[in-house]
Symmetry: C2
Subunit: 140 residues, 2 copies
């Protein structure tokens, strides 16, 4: 399944790889404003959700739900945001974002609001560890 | 399944009811800037995607995909946007939006960009007819 998969360079530049679930690569968006995972199905040439066959859509949904439950467990968010937009990065990817009434964009969607704020190394490692533990992902 | 379901007043105010699929009510957002459907599972007390049981998540996904395919067939969009945000309207609902490189918000997400532009009656009826036909929804 991996053979022709390459992560889009913008996702690679802006995110840290958490690891691989059976269907999707899990990324942590390097923006400390919001705990924000991104799931990228490891198949080539996907743009829209409906480019996936029905059973693959379900596999992706299961992993998106797992990522959401992990963020809930770790952050106790106020609200979950899930979105597949891809107007700027055309590789199919799903945002799974923990939102708080106190966060930098609330109650608006996160895109285009607060300037990106990179994690400091310790906070990043801590969050990666927690997410990997929740998702049972081994360190790559 | 319908007994305790009531559409959130803001969704009722801003949208036109397309009709019911087996699981979700389908709305047309009354914003002619974008062909924009909204699916609302007809169950009470849902906020986040993961409030749904796994099998209900799949039922919702199937209907979201169907709505996306309908919009693709009708509009030949450039890009599909799918999102469950709900920071302002806490009733679980999924946006299914046909995007064009020429639209009022491209390449940004639609929220908070262009002022809402209500459909004229004829254009609205035409689009409702097409969506109902694609989704095999009878007029309510």
């Amino acid at each position: 399944m991996n053979s022709n998969f390459t992560l889009h360079p913008q996702l690679a530049a802006e995110c840290i790889v958490v690891g691989d679930l059976p269907f999707a690569r899990v990324l942590l968006n390097n923006d400390a404003n919001y705990p924000w995972l991104i799931l990228v199905p490891r198949k080539p040439a996907l743009v829209d959700l409906i480019d996936l066959a029905d059973d693959d859509q379900i596999r992706l949904l299961r992993e998106v739900s797992g990522a959401a439950r992990a963020l809930k467990e770790i952050t106790r968010y106020d609200k979950l945001n899930v979105a597949a937009l891809g107007n700027q990065v055309p590789q199919l990817h799903v945002h799974v974002i923990a939102r708080f009434r106190s966060d930098a964009a609330w109650p608006n969607p996160v895109w285009g609001r607060a300037p990106r704020k990179a994690y400091d190394a310790a906070a990043c490692e801590r969050l990666l560890d927690l997410v990997r533990k929740e998702l049972k992902i081994a360190v790559m």
